[in-house]
Every structure is written in C-alpha cells, then in structure tokens.
Subunit: 138 residues, 2 copies
DNA sequence: CCAGAATAGATGTATATACATCTATATTGC
DNA sequence: GCAATATAGATGTATATACATCTATTCTGG
C-alpha cells in the first residue's frame, strides 16, 4: 500500500508540476500556500501536523519560500516558535498559479468521475489518520 | 488531490519505514526488490515505467543498491541499456525484511477493512494510469 | 527560584525525486 | 553506408523529506 501511494503520488506530482511549471511553484509549495490561506498564521510545528510532514523538514522548504517572499515569519509569544503566514506576494503568486492548477485538477476529476473522486479524498484522509496514529506506536 | 496523495504517502512512508528501520531498507528500496522478484531482469527504463518514476532518478537509487550488493547489473544486448536483477544478497535482505513489512501492512489492512483496502488499491492504480497518460499531454 | 525535563526549531547527513543537458549507442532515410 | 535523428542512461542542480542531534526556550516539581 505504501508503494502504491508513493507511485501514485509520483505520477500525480509529475502531472501537476508540469501544469505549474510556468508559475514556478512546486507542488509542496502550492499546498503550503493553500493551507496558509485557510489557516492564517500558524507555527511551523502546527503546519507540519496539518501536512503530515516532519516539522524540521519544513525548515528548509519554508526558508526557500521566505527567500522568494511568498511567506512572512515572526517569533511567537513562545520564543521557540516560528509563526508563518502568507505574504501579499504569496497571495498574488497563488492567485496566478491557481487557474493552471484547477485545469489539471478538473481534467483528472473528469477522468475519474465524481464518485471515485469523492471516495479517494475520503479514503486518503482516513489512511493518513490511521498512519498518523499507528506510526508512532510500535 | 495531488496534495492529498502526497500527504498520505508521507504518513505511510513514515509508518512503514519505522517498521523497516531494523532491516536498513527504505520504502523505495524494498519496493524495487519486490518488483525485481516478480519481473526478473529488467532495464532501468522499464523499471522506471513500472514505478512511475523518471528513469534517470533510478540511476542514483540503483547505484546505492548495487553498492549494498542487493542487485546486479549488466549491459543489455542494446549496449545503452542497463539491465538490473535481484542478487542473492538482495533476495536474502528482502526475505528478512518482509515479516516486519507484512506486520505493519496487516495492521493497516485491519484498521481499514478489506473493502476499503481493495478499493484503495484499485483506485490508486487507476489514478496512476490516468496521470501517466495525461501527464505528457498539454 | 532553580535544576531537570520537555519542547520548537536549526543543522548535519542521507535518500528520493525531477528535469535539463550531455554522451554513447542505435535506428532511419536517402 | 552514412548523416540525421532518436533513445538509454549519466551527470549537474534543485527541491523534498526524514531522523539524529544540538541549541534555545519553556515548563515543572520541590
């Protein structure tokens, strides 16, 4: 199952990133921008939880995005935290990238059909939750 | 959908690799060994197709596995090709790793249920095929 | 209040992965 | 048969990702 998901993730990433290439955004970066739109300002650790990604892996990705000016960071009240949020440049970047993103996504949804599309979103979420809780326990 | 698959793939990879850590195999490496058991000797390009992975990405992963002694390589009749196959050390490595892999997989299957498990395998395969054919076309 | 434990990220290191480009070989059109 | 073209991988470069370990900060028991 892990292999199946990894294979599909590779295939989808190639398809989506091909569509996104003109915008200069990678799949992970666009996902982070989208999350920040909905979540507002969050700590790096919280962002990692939302993405099921090791929070220290985000250190590098967020540094790239901060250098590009798409996000802004500041220290939290807890000074160990780094709190990130969308910058206006990031908002603009996302807005310009979304049409291509939505085109490729709509085409996939068309090929899959509404029923399978919905099933997949539900199932992937379910699997993520299971893996999240099982992963930690031996 | 791309983001969902990538998130789930990360979560699953963390879970599976945690179980595989004593064996020293990464998820991708175990997948390759399993594919080679079934496929016998294949070219690097063909292996890339089976995994939906860019064949030049395999250059590095296969080099690691060859150094570790898990696979053997030779030139094909077409001298541009590299044909890879499981070595006996790779077979042994896989055999020792499989129990842990099967335990984590069985636990996940139990949590998901047989019906969802089967749906997921079918759906991920379907999505891979769609992405594979759509990815190339504008 | 303070020493020890816990937590949030930063950093070092390794693998995974893609694409552009380069090289070696093969195929093809004439 | 050879020049032009196509193909299989190798290599350079960039991002993605995890974990172990380190540092700075916070929390907690006494």
């Amino acid at each position: 199952m892990c292999g199946s998901f990894r294979r599909t993730a590779r295939a989808l990433t190639q398809m989506y990133e091909r569509a996104l290439r003109p915008s200069g955004l990678r799949a992970t970066q666009l996902t982070i921008l989208q999350v920040l739109v909905r979540a507002g300002e969050v700590s790096q650790g919280r962002l990692g939880e939302m993405l099921a990604m090791d929070s220290t892996s985000l250190t590098r990705t967020l540094a790239i995005m901060r250098r590009a000016g798409w996000i802004a960071e500041r220290r939290g009240e807890d000074r160990r935290e780094r709190r990130v949020r969308l910058s206006s440049a990031g908002e603009a970047k996302l807005r310009r990238a979304l049409p291509a993103w939505e085109r490729v996504q709509a085409r996939l949804r068309g090929k899959l059909g509404q029923r399978e599309w919905g099933s997949l979103l539900k199932l992937t979420h379910h699997v993520t939750e299971i893996a999240r809780t099982q992963g930690g326990l031996p």
